[in-house]
Symmetry: D2
Subunit: 316 residues, 4 copies
């Protein structure tokens, strides 16, 4: 199926228990750049240094950590309208609603809906471009390859989320048939390898833009992931996490799925973050990679070849 | 403009003066995998290890080196027909023709046309998938991150070409308006920076899938480029090029344009090759980066900040 | 104390349960080069590609895995005689004996002794230089930076051992006062941090040439370690270990002690191997680094900041 | 020959034309740390972050750039006295003199002499240890692998100098026979490869601590070199040099000699600097590597396989 115009996961909204601690973590450790704060100080907006849109991460203080919603940038208002109609018509989404422009700062109207695994998704077409600070003679003129003043891990971009939920079939059907995603990789259980327990979906040339693991829960997030440019930056991330006494879950290591070079860690509210590098170039004509349940260990953690205890049990 | 369904540069056909020497270079030094040879032995077909389609490089013995054609894989037969019609209707292409399936082995019919800079381009929708050899329980089942038996530089994929030609405006118009490419970066000359002399065009999330430099020639190629996965692999490539006494043009270094970490070298026929790593994630909503002519030096070779003599004068 | 002329750990002799399986592991996975085999086939001799002496690893089939002895190359016969006399005179060593030249192939006479932790050590001054295969016009003329034909992990050199034993004080005294090693790093327990439980000793500019952990055992080995040239090669090692289903203990990760970038794994007999890169330049005038017992976690595994269960319990 | 107790090149004193510009370069671009300044402001003292002694670089404003002297730390006062006597007795040095303690801040007395190539060398045994800032519970207790607050290229250590001079034979004799250095690599000219034109000398496990090229000059410096920890840091150095418009001579590339991964650039006074990573572990029993003059190109710049014009003609 050809592209339907979904560009990328453009923002993730995370709930945190202590906003000040979260800001410290996301700006000083992960090294995102704060671009705005709600007048009331209830929400903070951030971006990776190489993202051009106004923000890609929203932090909101709440009593329970987790993900409020994941927003997808589409390639224009016409696509937004068409996809919203398709989602509604599909019968696969619930609680469809339009959020007016400005609810997120510098962001146009968003179409919000809940997918079968219980996660709130959004589509939107407009967000103010503020640039990446590399231009030396204007915002996008004669740039350096990276800007001055990077902090901490200096995550390059928000990249994807791995989400946990129950109705994996419905969610995958929605992403593939309605939103036009490709199924880059799948984990299949059962004696005939015909029961999907994991799906890694791409709307781009990345190995995944979002992934889902079948778990008997609704709307849970395993991790929000941020891009780094090299395996050496993953090591450096590990060093920074250790020196700041940030809780590391696992890594540095390699994923079998997507080949990513990764480290998992937790924000102060217990939301799992990932920074990773590597992967491969995905195209929609590339055959889906299948992992059998027996090989779930190397699929997730290629070196250890087995899951750590936290992988299936710790999420928010 | 939304995607029109062009996936990637799927094959490049290069003319070489001595086929045996070329095979040695492309398989033993660059490390491509030979997948087929014409019965008459006049053409050889190769691919990078992480490409799944049957071939991405065609070598043909001829009296003059250079590029025969560059072929673009599209996302299906309907797209192929539609784009072919659009190209013909645009009036920007000449010598439009359909090549029947099988002319290239394991490849469907191709729509061929000549663009204003004199290069022969092709669109095609079908090529046999032969896989990348990573699967351990089937072609795409439980893969390792890379296959056994890699040779030489072990180029991952054919990535893009940089082409030289005169009517840059016409070619850019064709790629942007008809084929739906984004203009990731441009080099602008003239006192008002309004005369385009370089265009870096993307149909994907790569910083470029093809690039053109305005030069008073027709149909020339500056280099065919292949992907590596890290800057350390670029160093290793340089070591292999030196030990095999392969002529290096420049590098390892970084491009300002696209940020690529690169080394340029020549095949035995004088065709320039590149292997590179890095770059950034491109999206069609990303503002075009502009390089002014005064900054052409760092644009091309970011460290040296000036062109080497060969950059503008040596091409095939 | 100035150098006494001990150059490096020149060979380690390991006992393996199945010699054929061990050869497969050490040559195909770790990528050492077999240089000789006993006529009776009971011992096999190997070296890392960038070692010049005839061998650095001896494998001997036995009923129990572990280390037979660790041999130290000294800078000449006079040094050998002087150090042997010093060791005997020190009263710190037992079972002192001379092994005649030729007992190890291409190796001169060795002075053997048992240190207070129960490990058998040797000093020797002569071993045939066979080179590293990089020279292009003779063994050491116009070399390439690395040779053709490297296999598997392609360990560069045998680097050091970490040993477990009880009388740490005696062994450290012998290495420091008699053999002239520097104490690069130490782990100190007790309320006043005055009870040494780990010692990392250097006779070179490496952060360690041998290390000891106080454990209530005699003559045990925690791991034999081999050098790699980069963190990316550590990743590649992890990939090769996984694809060959070699049992990985932990890593890739960083040590706090020595800063090494590391991965631990097991040979088929349960002997632990390490490959690592990085570290720092040690000099004898550099102050000893002290790790307090409370920080033993990050000292050993800097990212996880805690020992894994195997670290203290699994050795041979 | 066994070690005579020379530890390392402990400081290099460079003349600069504009002290303020030099400080900017050495602290903000190269990223050394200023540790002291003369009361009169005529000399500035700096160190790399991972050096423990008070300083390793001295900058002095003068009318002509170049090197004032290169100082060697030895392993104690007795060694200092003995080596000073040996140097004087050798007849190979001229202008021998003792400089009293305190002439360089935090530094003991130095024995100064001029070698046959016209360079001023010093031996000294004492310099205040100020540490590397990694300790978290004291100067050398429970350290992180690298300190906070690194700036620019963040050179790890001053590593070596390459010097130009005429009487290469005399200087090499002095370093080998009197100071006990090993000849790691040599470049040999003449039909029988018996006329030495380059010598790379080591007093450690580094591939070189100082190098000399035969040129018809006295006391000239080709470059002062600083260590980085990886090839990726060499790339990052290149990026920083470009963005700060620091003049790059050549690189990133690899040296054939020593295998170093390198970039050369100039300080504002025209003194050439190098930052590099890699190399190999040198031991005094390792055979000397010989480069023949015909292979001088790859010996110096392994990728380009030829010298650039500046290599022989530009020095200070």
């Amino acid at each position: 199926m050809a592209s339907t115009g979904v560009l990328r996961p453009g923002h993730v909204a995370l709930r945190v228990l202590d906003l000040a601690a979260a800001i410290e973590h996301y700006t000083k450790v992960l090294g995102l750049i704060e671009t705005a704060r709600d007048p009331a100080g209830k929400r903070v907006f951030l971006k990776g240094w190489d993202e051009h849109d106004h923000h890609s991460v929203v932090l909101r203080e709440a009593d329970e950590s987790g993900m409020d919603f994941l927003g997808w940038k589409v390639d224009g208002p016409a696509t937004l309208k068409a996809l919203a109609a398709d989602v509604e018509a599909s019968g696969l989404a619930t609680e469809c609603a339009w959020i007016p422009a400005g609810d997120l700062p510098e962001t146009g109207e968003r179409f919000r809906f809940t997918i079968p695994t219980g996660h709130v998704m959004e589509l939107y077409a407009e967000k103010t471009v503020i640039g990446n600070g590399c231009g030396t003679d204007g915002p996008d003129v004669n740039p350096n390859p990276w800007p001055d003043g990077l902090v901490g891990i200096a995550a390059v971009r928000f990249d994807h989320c791995l989400l946990y939920g129950d109705d994996l079939d419905g969610t995958v059907k929605l992403f593939r048939d309605v939103l036009g995603f490709g199924l880059a990789e799948q984990v299949m259980a059962g004696p005939n390898h015909d029961f999907m327990i994991g799906a890694f979906l791409s709307c781009s040339n990345k190995a995944h833009d979002v992934a889902f693991i079948r778990q008997p829960v609704k709307g849970k997030i395993h991790h929000a992931s941020f891009l780094l440019n090299s395996w050496e930056q993953v090591l450096r991330a590990g060093d920074i996490l250790s020196r700041t006494h940030t809780s590391i879950d696992i890594g540095p290591t390699r994923h079998g799925i997507t080949r990513g070079e990764t480290i998992y860690f937790f924000d102060p509210s217990g939301n799992r973050n990932e920074v990773f590098s590597g992967g491969y170039t995905y195209y929609p004509d590339k055959p889906t990679i299948t992992w059998t349940e027996a090989e779930l260990g190397p699929a997730i953690f290629y070196h250890d070849r087995k899951l750590n205890e936290a992988f299936l049990s710790v999420f928010t």
